[in-house]
């Protein structure tokens, strides 16, 4: 087996620190507004309406703001999810730190469950709050495709960039497969 994979994974993980530092976010309030507005724009196009305004919640403690939608863990459909046209359901949490006028991403988790019978059954985009001891199996920024324990590295994305992938990359394909 070729050696060096753990070292390369560690180097990749270290690069996430630089990437995180380079992402300029406005205030946590502005990030929440961007996310809420993004969802409201999407909602305007849907035949089944969500109430995006009331689905997105904010909680603040000290320097950390938590922006959430849907249940913490997706187990089944709920009225707290955001439903896309394909009937895929979205839930997420975004954690942001505001300190001394600077706003930075701490972590996120976006979970998209596809409709029953679709394969894969879910996609998830995670940014962990700190590096894992085994970055090869758990890179700090990663995504899952229907497998809880397979975490493939992804770039660090802003919350709106994750939503772009969900609504403009995954959803059109799901719709095409579902209704073709």
């Amino acid at each position: 087996m070729p050696s060096g994979a753990p070292t390369r994974a560690k180097i990749l993980d270290d690069r996430y620190e630089e990437a995180l530092a380079s992402i300029g976010l406005p205030s946590a309030r502005d990030v929440a507004a961007q996310v809420r507005t993004y969802l409201q724009h999407q909602d305007a196009e849907l035949s089944r309406k969500n109430n995006a305004l009331s689905l997105v919640k904010q909680t603040v403690s000290q320097e950390i703001t938590s922006i959430t939608l849907g249940p913490a863990i997706d187990k089944e459909p709920t009225d707290r999810h955001f439903y896309l046209e394909s009937e895929s359901r979205l839930s997420f949490c975004i954690e942001i730190r505001e300190t001394q006028g600077r706003c930075s991403l701490v972590a996120y988790r976006f979970h998209l469950s596809l409709p029953d019978g679709m394969s894969p059954s879910f996609y998830r985009f995670d940014l962990n709050p700190k590096p894992h001891e085994s970055p090869l199996t758990e890179p700090r920024a990663h995504y899952h495709v229907a497998m809880e324990h397979i975490r493939l590295p992804s770039p660090v994305l802003t919350p709106v960039e994750v939503l772009d992938r969900i609504f403009q990359v995954i959803e059109p394909q799901v719709l095409q497969i579902r209704f073709s």
Partner: protein, 192 residues
């Protein structure tokens, strides 16, 4: 007359539809800086342009200058609620100088709107039917929602909230976005 409550997103959409030189009154739920800041963030996101806050009370020259430079961005005037009839009349007389390409949003209470209608009839006609009570902000978790979410996380991580805090204090907590949310829900953001 009853006006229909609207969220900032919908107010932004209507401003875009009406185009240039739009005057809007937003009946804010209160005049705290927090609710105004939330509205500005939401409206800025909706319009994809930063909403600039302009001071309306006090100097007429200052207001005219602020509205004209630049003249194409959306501006919010949030300090006119308490001005007297004389100040509203002065604004009304200077209304031609207030015309601009960008939208003007007046943040008022129903008391302020009554004063505007009484003392500045021409400005009131600028506004027309664009009077929107701001929808209540539903973004705060209720105590029940918070408790339910904490219970969900305790079940997921198979530990109590006290154990979660102990782990965070010891620095041995899992590196998981949900654990961060849990600490925030427990008002222990200092441990993140």
């Amino acid at each position: 007359m009853a006006f229909l409550e609207q969220p900032a997103f919908e107010i932004g959409r209507r401003i875009e539809i009406r185009g240039g030189n739009t005057w809007v009154v937003v009946l804010g739920p209160d005049t705290t800086n927090d609710s105004i800041a939330g509205f500005i963030a939401d409206l800025s996101a909706s319009l994809s342009r930063t909403v600039r806050v302009v001071t309306g009370a006090g100097s007429m020259d200052g207001l005219l200058t602020a509205l004209a430079s630049p003249a194409d961005d959306p501006v919010l005037i949030a300090d006119l609620d308490g001005v007297d009839a004389e100040a509203w009349s002065a604004l009304d007389i200077n209304r031609s100088g207030l015309a601009r390409e960008g939208a003007v949003i007046l943040w008022l209470s129903s008391y302020g709107l009554a004063n505007l209608s009484r003392s500045a009839p021409n400005l009131r006609s600028f506004v027309g039917g664009s009077i929107f009570p701001l929808s209540p902000d539903g973004s705060t978790l209720t105590p029940e929602e918070r408790a339910s979410r904490i219970a969900e996380l305790e079940d997921h991580f198979r530990m109590t909230s006290e154990q979660a805090i102990a782990q965070a204090v010891a620095g041995t907590q899992p590196s998981d976005p949900l654990f961060v949310e849990w600490l925030v829900l427990l008002d222990r953001g200092d441990l993140v």
